[in-house]
C-alpha cells in the first residue's frame, strides 16, 4: 500500500494508476467543495472531472511541480465553477436555483465577512474546547489533514471507524449552530 506522498510522487511521474487512486480518494471532497459553492450536484461532478483532467494535462506538460491534494484540485475546480457561472450569466442562463447560484463567491471576502468569519472561528474554538479530548483529537485528525481517511483516523485514535464517524456527526451537530449563520448568508 503506497502512502499519500508516494502516490503523489508517482502521479507526478505520470503513473496512471496513481492518478486513478488519487482521484478515487479525493474526488468526493472536490465535489463537496463545489456543492458548498452552490453548484448543482450533476454539474459539480462534471466540473470535478474536468478539474482532474486539467491537472493531468498540466502534469503531462511538465507544469505541475507539486501535487498537494485535494487542495490543488479544489482550487482548480473552483476556477472552473467561476468560469461556468460567468458564461451562464453571459448567455443569460440561470444554471439552477438562483439563491444557490449567487452563493459562488467571485472574489476575496470583504472586511466585514472576514470579521464575521473570525468571530465564528473563535466561537467554534470555544465550543470545541468544551468537548472531550478524544473528540477534539478526532476532529483535528479528520479536518486538519484532508488527506487522512476515516479508517486511518480511526487507527491513529484507537477507535473504530463507526465511532469516528459518530464523533464527526456529534461535532457537526454542536458546531452547526455557530457555523450555520454564515452558511445561511
Amino acid at each position: 500500500m503506497t502512502s499519500n506522498s508516494d502516490a503523489a510522487a508517482l502521479a507526478l511521474a505520470g503513473d496512471q494508476d496513481a492518478w486513478n487512486a488519487l482521484i478515487t480518494k479525493h474526488n468526493h471532497r472536490v465535489v463537496v467543495s463545489l456543492l458548498a459553492r452552490g453548484v448543482s450536484i450533476e454539474r459539480a461532478k462534471e466540473i470535478a472531472h474536468e478539474a482532474w483532467l486539467k491537472l493531468i494535462l498540466q502534469q503531462r506538460l511538465g507544469r505541475l511541480p507539486h501535487l498537494a491534494l485535494p487542495g490543488v484540485a479544489i482550487t482548480q475546480a473552483g476556477y472552473l465553477a467561476l468560469d461556468d457561472q460567468r458564461s451562464a450569466r453571459a448567455a443569460c442562463e440561470v444554471p439552477f436555483d438562483d439563491a444557490l447560484a449567487l452563493a459562488i463567491p467571485e472574489g476575496a471576502p470583504n472586511a466585514e465577512e472576514r470579521l464575521l468569519r473570525k468571530e465564528q472561528v473563535q466561537q467554534a474554538h470555544a465550543a470545541l474546547a468544551r468537548m472531550s479530548p478524544s473528540t477534539r483529537r478526532v476532529f483535528k485528525l479528520i479536518y486538519q489533514d484532508p488527506d487522512l481517511s476515516h479508517a486511518e483516523a480511526a487507527r491513529r485514535s484507537g477507535l473504530s471507524v463507526q465511532r469516528v464517524r459518530q464523533i464527526i456527526c456529534e461535532v457537526r451537530s454542536k458546531l452547526r449552530v455557530v457555523l450555520e449563520e454564515q452558511a445561511r448568508d
Partner: protein
C-alpha cells in the same frame, strides 16, 4: 425510492464521505431533481468547509466577558486606594510643619523655589493668610469619600482653585 427525500443524517453522511456507493447514487439522483434537498445538501457542504477552516486556524484566546468586569472592579479599588494614600500622605506631611493647629500650612499651596540671593534682595511678597490644614477634593468621582476621610481626620476641605475643563460643560455650551 428516489422520490423519498433523504434525511438530514443521510445528507450529513454523504458530505462527510461516510456513505455507501449505492446510497450515494440514490441520494445524488434525488438531489439532482429536488431543489429543496439540493439546498439542504449545499448547506451541509458549506458547514463541512467551515469545519475545515476552523481546524486550519490555530485556537485563538477567547475573551472572557467577566474579565472586563473584574478589571473595572480592580481599577476602582486601585483608585480608591490611591486616593486614601494621598489623603494620608497629605496629613502626614502637614502635621510636623507647624506647632499650633491653626498655623498648619495648606498642603496644596504653591511654593515656588527661590534662591538665597533673591530672598536677601527682594522684599518678602505678601502672603495670603494661612489656611487651616486641609485638603482639596478635586476628583469628582470620589468627592464624597474624600470629604468623609477629611472630616474623620480633622482636615478642612478646600475648594479647588483650578477649573478643570470638562466635556459636559463644553457640550452644554455648544448646545446653548
Amino acid at each position: 425510492m428516489t422520490d423519498e427525500h433523504p434525511t438530514a443524517s443521510e445528507l450529513e453522511r454523504y458530505v462527510i464521505g461516510a456513505h455507501e456507493s449505492a446510497d450515494a447514487l440514490r441520494l445524488e439522483t434525488h438531489v439532482a431533481r429536488c431543489a429543496t434537498c439540493a439546498t439542504a445538501l449545499a448547506r451541509e457542504a458549506r458547514i463541512e468547509l467551515k469545519l475545515q477552516e476552523v481546524a486550519r486556524v490555530p485556537a485563538l484566546p477567547i475573551e472572557d466577558p467577566r474579565r472586563g468586569r473584574r478589571v473595572a472592579v480592580l481599577g476602582g479599588i486601585a483608585v480608591l486606594a490611591c486616593s486614601a494614600a494621598l489623603v494620608l500622605f497629605g496629613s502626614w506631611r502637614a502635621a510636623p510643619q507647624e506647632q499650633p493647629d491653626e498655623a498648619r500650612p495648606f498642603i496644596a499651596t504653591h511654593s515656588p523655589h527661590r534662591n538665597v540671593e533673591d530672598a536677601r534682595t527682594e522684599p518678602e511678597p505678601e502672603r495670603a493668610p494661612r489656611s487651616p490644614s486641609g485638603i482639596a477634593c478635586i476628583e469628582p468621582a470620589y468627592v464624597k469619600q474624600c470629604m468623609r476621610d477629611a472630616h474623620r481626620r480633622g482636615l478642612a476641605v478646600i475648594e479647588p482653585t483650578i477649573q478643570v475643563p470638562r466635556y459636559e460643560y463644553a457640550a452644554a455650551d455648544q448646545l446653548n
